[in-house]
Amino acid sequence: MSADAITTVNAGRRRFLAISLTASGALLVGMRWAHAEPAAANLPPDLLGDELTELGPFLRIERDNRIVIGARGCEIGQGVMTSLPMLIAEELDVDWSQVRVVQLPYGYVETDKGPSNRYGDQGAGGSTSITDGWKELRQAGATARWLLVQAASRDWNLPAEQLRTESGQVIAPDGRKLTYGALARSATSIAPPEQPVALKSPEQFRIIGKPTRVADARAIVTGRSHFGIDEYAADALVAVIARCPYLDGTLDSFDDAETRKVAGVKDVIAIPGPKPDEPLGGVLAAGVAVLADSTWAALKGRELLKVKWKQGPWAKESTNALAAVANDLLDKNEGGVAVRNDGDFAKARKQARQVIEARYEMPFLAHATMEPPAALIEIRQDSVLLVASLQSPDGASELISQLTGIARKDIEIRMTRAGGGFGRRLKNDYVAEAVLVAKAAGKPVKLMWTREDDLQHDFYRPFGVHAMAATLDRKKHITGWSHRCAATPRNYRDAGMKSRPIYTGCLEPDDFPAGLVANLDKTFFSVASGMPRGWWRAPIHTFHAFAVQSFIDEVAVATRQDAVKLRLDLLGEPRKIPYKGHGGPTFDTGRLADVLKRCAEKIGWGARRTDGHGIGIACHFTFGGYAAHAFEVSIDGSDLRIHRAVCVADVGRVVNPLGLEAQMIGGTIDAVSAALHLAITVKDGQVQQHNFPDYPLLRMAQAPRNVEVQIVESTAEPSGAGEIGVPSAAPALANAVYAATTVRVRKLPLMPELMRML
């Protein structure tokens, strides 16, 4: 779309659009409906047909009735490049086989009302893509269909109400048909509807709910799929950065004489780090960038740099010391922040027949996206082009504007498929680095991170210790529940979280069993640390569900109760209870009980085992979705064998069952991978892990052969699914290990701890 085309929208249309904005809300903000243009001369004709017509920002209809749908989201593997276009295609009423999907760029626009985005929210985080798209994108498809029907109505001089649509055609009562391709140009002259148009009822769905393969799979399997790291520009230099290995350390001095002798090395540039205690909104560490005409030359040059670092304020930090501080805070029980208090836990404790206590330790985790951070940036006189794998294009755009002084409307961001996200790309530190290096070099720059860079400089999932206590009466009912957490707060040097409580991201006030136990105490203790912290897939929930769902199992064992029944007793009658966190406003005890029961049934819960195998189970509510996991395991020497893995999920109405199953399989294996082997540790103020041998992701041989996924059929509003497959897997696995061995692992990663204890 050329800038000229935008200015051809006439004033009358603009006035009409202004009216439709107030009528139909946020969806139409910044949208241009109904624009036709001849095929651009520089595009291959077979790609576009002989003529193409745009209906709204997401849709291009070709004369030969091929439909091109724009995918607005950041595709990080969660499937939005398929599922979001499916929502549009459904309401447009086309066949999925007619559809070609293309990735949209970042759609920042400035309107009379301020900054907006012509495509809506494009970020990836918090499992919100489907929830948002469910409302907005179906409406976008339905509006385009409405315009096409109006166009046919005018052509045939028949009332629109008498016309129906099917497979990209409008059909008259007498059987006459017109394809969307034939109608599209005419539809552009029709004024958009003033009110949101009616959507299909679920019985009419022909695409939503049907198993649909990844839309761009062919590009992926032929190597043509284009990730951020795959972007090159003819005149861009490749930059790699030697970063300070000490938390908040600084650059003392460097000698680049040998570096500059490497053939291909063009420049060496120092990058200042963030000041201690300032928000980590830009770069993550001080560094020295080596710029070269190839990646290999840049890497060789970096190896020959002689850099002296100053150690900074955290030079003595170590994981062992952090654990000691956390346990000491929990022992003394002073200086905590109340997260939620119901009833009187102290009194319940005094009156209890039995008190059960346990502590669980969670390590720092790195994201280790298979595609490490990378960014290609070109800073021109008064505009910027960024190509990168992102999760927060809004954040990238803001940051580039801050660092360059160039207005956001003049910053073009091309979005690519991202080689994993898991929360890593919610931070744009690598974009900031690319900007600083490109500014200093006065040239376009392709910034590359190596795996070592990635593991050493991440925004890690917090480290912490959870102290759990349950009080029981003589009938073994849980009368009180205490969850005290001492952790390196996630809410750390993050300007966006300034107004939120310190425990945000570590302890969720309303999570299970809050609201289900009369006397509840949740308290948070801060452990000071220089480690940068961020969101790691299903962040808060992977962090504390392990403690909650392991501990409930311990309570069941200690009181000789069935672990499934104990959970079901706590959940009680199906009802909705208040839940203020993300995924609320309510939490449905019946839906959680349902996935738990189904999971127990599928794994064969309760059957007596004589083969040394153990079964463990757990369940959790995350971001509007409900999941339960169960594993069957055995121990063979120093090997843990996973014989079966079961995952049952209820995410409301399912948009793409095949994609949902993939998320549950992947979430389960991701969780097993992290739980068994992964930890980031600190010693002498430095991260100790460097590459995959120190941070061994699960390989196929260690992974369960299959994850048996059961999806609950539901008519509830759809929730996202990128994260819910993770939290209950690790505790279910640890519970299975206990069932097989009677060894209770309370510290992750599980395998080293299990081998120590066996």
Binding site: I220, T222, G223, I229, R417, R451
Partner: protein
Amino acid sequence: MPNQPEHPAEPVKRPARPLAPLPISINGKPYFHDGDPAMPLLWFLRDILRLTGTKYGCGIGACGACTVLIDGKAVRSCVTPMQAAANHKITTIEGLETNALHPVQQAWIEEDVAQCGYCQAGQIMAAVDLLQRKPKPNDDDIATIGNFCRCGTYPRIRRAIARAAELMRSQDK
């Protein structure tokens, strides 16, 4: 709706220098490399030829994202210097498709394997190598593929390899 370029930038017009010392065949085409002979093949493929289907993941041969075929065998291109690759025939993911998709590629689509997709080229190359050696692989044979997938697509990779084996057998008949 704006068009985003769907292909990487044009290759640099300087890969083939006929008199250069290191000859190498990539996807059936001859090239010469006159740069650092210690440069890993991965960077020749990506930086020079712009064959970006082969991915960087670790640089130490641990993750398998950079797997290519050298004379038909799966090799980690990130730890294969150009001097070792010279005089050999390299096949990358871009060269796997001849007239039609390779059965492994076809099976990958049919089993809907990819999530983020980044490691999949390496997984596919490893599977092609496996199926050449073991046309009827069992579960343990398949699990010898040690490539990392952070998205956890392993169960579908297993199914895709089994399906590819069937496709290849039916093609041979």
